[in-house]
């Protein structure tokens, strides 16, 4: 055993550069893999912990204000809830802070405790007077609102001022950064002055003895709806939805991380196998001598495997903690959003798993080619300094010769294919590297496209939110009187009860040229008259309806006959969520006094958006919130793009290391040929050109495979990720690559490979002819 270690250490000293290649590639792959493992293992726990600790509500239901709240007290027993909270009186409220206006659902609640839906106070104290309010921490942080800030309520004519006295974590709410109207809390006695006419409702929180399934929740909602007057249930949200939305960003990230980690490990395994093959090929005589002095075949294999495992183990020792540390910011963000005290997560079991997994993969990749060394016969290998030369590139060389390419290029092309196994393993690393870049680019752009689509970027320039205190006609007249206004689409939100759908369906009603908002429909078309409606896929599936089907919904007690004319692509409804979109005339036929909550304004080309926004806001500073339309909160996109490109860079770097490694092996193996060529008059530049041609050709081949492969993989992965939102993604979202980019990516790969060839190329060009040929 001692002999193996002595020989291994001696070989490591001699092959420092190759050991460095193994170290770097393993380090990158292991760090990425550990990140993915840590996120997968830890992301479910924080939510579950917080949900239990805060006695989260399995079901939250909103009831119309016409219902007698005393009747709601009997509903928990009716649906088998083991605990409940409420009814809480609530209202939709708009307030102004720091020049911006915000909409929240304000709930009357005298304390943060209770049997269901406890609120965890992370800063300040619970409101103790009618002028104090508590906000969710994620909302306050996102909008830079602090404890002590004063909020002017603009949704009621009196415009009372509230002071923020607490930041809380509500486990039953969607995180502010992923959307959804946030909650605010005031004392029960404070809610009335904050409630606009007809703007109040009741909220009930239900908790069950065990976590109900989606079907069970739906059944309980049906029971509940049947037990109260028609249309009394105005909204509902369940814990499954909240949990999924909470995890959606992490799930996207972990999905990408897992895929890319597999790529990184596969590329590393290819490099290791390539390297060991190369070492065995070049060390024939040495292997013969080892055997001649008494090494058994197993010991010979051991020497080759250990010289790979030593740098790989060193890489794991650094890479595993690095991966764990790199995953902490996301875990911290999750914990913080839930109001949990963040504690760095180190799982020894997970680390051991990562270490064992990485070393196993590397060992397997090393053992297979090392077996060749074990099998070699001493007499044969002592007589031959190296393995027989690979001659598989003849056909390629001949082809290039016929094309009258310069000789260094012809030789380089032949060299690239001289050893098929080496070429294949190198190609694998290149393909994985390039494909990862393609996937990363595609995913990032598609996500960006979705955000742009959802935000109507490019189609709407200004979004105006109206206070209920301002008349629709006044707001409309004001906006239309601005000379830059070319299109005005008013939007309102209502909920419609639909047979077969447990929760009231969020419905967007549009007035004006809403088709111009650019919603994508597949199949079908945008509505163009009363009674027509478009719905998202989740709705169509859950309601068991098809395009052209007619159904009767109920809104405010009024029956509404609707016909589905299109399936709209929509992310805002969230996973498993439902949404309907219809014309203003359709909804106001049932609810005549409905007013828009916001206006989407398109300006004349070349208009000064900022000036428009300032002017309009100044016209009604308290009753209009005027904002230039943008993607809004893109923190999620930034994180996704950062992770995607970061890891794609890592895998690409591993691929570059693979090319470098192959060239190093080839140039060293062919050092005598290079010396001969130099003697025959090959200039240093021609030598570098020859080596670079090898690299460039492999990169070209890799690119040709990787680009279509990467695009296909991107589509599969994006399908998976977008399906988290309950959608079938329209083709338009896949249209993220310009044709020139699909050509430029492999070309860029060639450039990178050629750059990676410079060092081995220069090394070959500097071959000392006398030393090399004299050594023979």
């Amino acid at each position: 055993m001692r002999a193996i270690f002595v020989k291994t250490l001696a070989d490591l000293r001699r092959r420092r550069l190759q050991a460095a290649v193994i170290f770097v590639t393993t380090l990158l792959a292991v760090a990425t893999g550990t990140m993915a493992l840590t996120l997968i293992a830890q992301t479910r726990d924080p939510y579950q912990l917080a949900f239990e600790a805060q006695k989260g509500a399995h079901l939250q239901v909103g009831f119309d204000n016409r219902i007698d709240p005393s009747t709601l007290v009997g509903t928990p027993a009716l649906i088998g809830a083991s605990a409940h909270a409420g009814p809480y009186r609530a209202t939709d409220m708009q307030f102004q802070s720091g020049g911006h206006k915000y909409a929240v659902t304000t709930i009357a609640r005298d304390n943060p405790g209770g049997d269901v839906g406890q609120l965890r106070i992370t800063g300040g104290h619970w409101p103790s007077s009618g002028t104090e309010v508590a906000l969710t921490r994620s909302f306050a942080e996102l909008n830079h609102i602090s404890i002590g800030d004063r909020l002017k309520v603009v949704s009621v004519p009196q415009e009372p001022v509230l002071t923020v006295v607490a930041e809380v974590v509500d486990i039953d709410e969607l995180r502010a950064d992923v959307g959804g109207v946030q909650h605010a809390w005031v004392l029960g006695t404070a809610i009335a002055p904050l409630t606009a006419k007809d703007a109040s409702f009741y909220l009930m929180d239900y908790r069950f003895a065990s976590d109900p399934t989606s079907a069970q929740l739906q059944a309980r909602m049906n029971t509940l709806r049947a037990s109260v007057p028609p249309d009394s249930v105005t909204s509902s949200i369940n814990y499954l939805f909240v949990r999924t939305v909470f995890h959606v960003s992490t799930e996207i990230l972990t999905g990408v991380l897992v895929a890319f980690s597999v790529f990184a490990l596969a590329a590393t395994a290819a490099i290791v196998a390539n390297l060991v093959t190369g070492i065995v090929i070049s060390a024939y005589r040495e292997i013969g001598i080892m055997k001649a002095v008494g090494f058994t075949p197993l010991q010979v294999i051991g020497v080759f495997v250990f010289q790979i495992l030593v740098p790989a183990a060193a890489a794991c020792i650094l890479g595993i903690p690095a991966g764990t540390i790199l995953s902490q910011p996301l875990l911290a963000s999750n914990s913080q959003a839930l109001g949990l005290a963040y504690q760095p997560t180190f799982s020894p079991a997970l680390d051991v798993l990562a270490l064992a997994g990485a070393l196993l993969i590397v060992a397997i990749a090393a053992v297979i080619p090392a077996f060749r060394a074990g099998r070699l016969k001493p007499a044969v290998v002592i007589a031959n300094a190296a393995a027989p030369r690979g001659n598989s590139g003849r056909w390629l060389r001949r082809l290039a010769s016929r094309a009258r390419l310069p000789r260094p290029i012809v030789l380089g092309l032949g060299e690239a294919a001289a050893r098929p196994v080496r070429a294949t393993l190198t190609l694998l690393a290149i393909v994985l590297g390039v494909a990862t870049v393609v996937v990363a680019l595609g995913e990032a752009r598609s996500f960006n496209k979705i955000y742009t689509y959802e935000g109507h970027i490019g189609k709407v320039d200004v979004v105006v939110a109206k206070s209920p205190a301002l008349a629709d006609s006044d707001a409309t007249q004001l906006i239309n009187s601005q000379p830059e206004t070319t299109r005005l689409v008013a939007e309102t939100t209502a909920t419609i009860t639909v047979p077969g759908i447990a929760d009231p369906v969020t419905t967007l009603g549009f007035r004006g040229d809403s088709a111009a908002l650019g919603y994508l429909l597949s199949p079908g078309r945008w509505f163009n008259g009363p009674g027509e409606v478009v719905a998202n896929r989740g709705f169509v599936q859950d309601a068991h309806l098809n395009l052209g089907d007619t159904f009767t919904g109920t809104v405010h007690g009024q029956a509404l006959k609707l016909r589905i004319v299109g399936e709209v692509f929509d992310f805002t409804a969230g996973p498993g969520g439902h949404v309907l979109m219809l014309d203003w005339s359709t909804i106001t036929a049932a609810v005549p006094n409905l007013t828009p909550s916001s206006y989407m304004v398109t300006l004349k080309p070349g208009s000064n958006v900022d000036a428009y926004v300032r002017r309009l806001a100044a016209a009604q500073p308290d009753l209009l919130d005027v904002q230039a339309n943008s993607t809004g909160n893109t923190a999620f996109l930034t994180v996704i793009a950062g992770v995607l490109f970061g890891i794609a860079g890592v895998v690409a770097l591993i691929a570059v290391a693979g090319v470098f490694n192959t060239l190093l092996l080839s140039t060293r193996e062919r050092v005598r040929d290079t010396a001969t060529l130099k003697t025959l008059g090959m200039s240093p530049r021609q030598v570098i050109g020859m080596v670079a041609t090898s690299a460039g050709f492999l990169a070209l081949l890799g690119g040709l495979v990787a680009v279509p492969g990467g695009v296909a993989l991107y589509r599969v992965l994006f399908d998976q990720l977008s399906s988290l939102g309950g959608n079938i993604t329209p083709l338009a979202f896949y249209d993220v690559f310009a044709p020139w980019e699909l050509i430029a990516i492999p070309l860029a790969g060639i450039v990178v490979a050629v750059l990676a060839a410079i060092v081995p190329g220069r090394w070959a060009a500097r071959t000392n002819v006398v030393e090399v040929l004299h050594a023979e």
């Binding site: 060389r397 025959l680 040929l773």
Partner: protein, 261 residues
């Protein structure tokens, strides 16, 4: 050191028998391994165009070093090397490569054919590096050397003698000013070695300047018109066998004495 021979070498360097000077080494020293080992010690010699010169000496005497310096694949520690009026010390790596491509043909002891190229491709390599396409000349050379039938074979399938003929054809493809042969028969059996030397003799008779390195005195005196003996990095003898001044047997005797010192 035989001072008379050294002086003679310079004295005769101006164009004996109507020939002009092609190679000039002036006080050349080559030291390897940080000055511990001296391969050449202050060697000065000229070689004239059209000559068939043999550099003879035992292993480690410095004869191959001399050849390498003339070929421009190595640089002297001091002194100058000029070939065809070109001072090699003034050329960079690319310049030396061009110089070798244009002026030098090299035949090695172990042939050094590129194993993944056919015979014809091997022969064509130097011409292609110059940007020339000369398949006709390559086939003509192969024909002259008696190996036309193996043009499309790979080196591994040839005998040693055939491989060395291919190497000679490769060395001649660019019509070099100077053909350098480093122990060209060293890896061959006697019969093949004789054939190779006959070929080199024939090439010389057609006007090719040849500089042959060998440790075999009989081989040197049988084919070369001039034999330079090198021992321990110094020229110890420079005999022109075609001038009747020195008999081959005497050269062999001197060589044997120097080697036994």
């Amino acid at each position: 050191m035989d001072g008379r021979t050294l002086v003679g070498a310079f004295r005769d360097g101006g164009g004996k028998n109507g020939m002009s000077e092609l190679v000039r080494l002036t006080d050349v020293t080559k030291v390897y391994q940080g000055g511990i080992t001296g391969a050449l010690n202050g060697v000065s010699v000229t070689v004239e165009k059209g000559e068939f010169t043999a550099i003879m000496g035992p292993s480690g005497s410095g004869k191959s070093t001399m050849l390498n310096l003339i070929a421009g694949v190595d640089r002297p520690s001091s002194g100058t090397v000029s070939v065809g009026g070109t001072l090699l010390g003034k050329l960079g790596e690319a310049g030396l490569a061009r110089f070798r491509r244009d002026h030098i043909g090299f035949v090695f002891q172990f042939f050094y054919l590129l194993p993944n190229l056919t015979v014809l491709e091997n022969v064509l390599i130097p011409a292609q590096l110059k940007g020339n396409v000369a398949p006709a000349r390559a086939r003509e050379l192969l024909d002259q050397l008696g190996i036309a039938e193996v043009a499309n074979r790979y080196p591994a399938r040839l005998s040693g003698g055939q491989q060395q003929r291919v190497a000679i054809a490769r060395a001649l493809i660019n019509k070099p000013t100077l053909l350098l042969a480093d122990e060209p028969t060293g890896a061959l059996d006697t019969r093949s070695g004789d054939q190779v030397m006959e070929l080199l003799g024939g090439v010389h008779r057609e006007g090719q300047t040849i500089l042959l390195v060998t440790h075999d005195a009989k081989l040197a005196t049988r084919h070369a018109a001039r034999v330079i003996s090198v021992v321990d990095g110094k020229i110890v003898d420079d005999a022109r066998l075609d001038s009747l001044e020195r008999a081959p047997s005497e050269v062999i005797r001197v060589r044997g004495e120097e080697a036994s010192r």
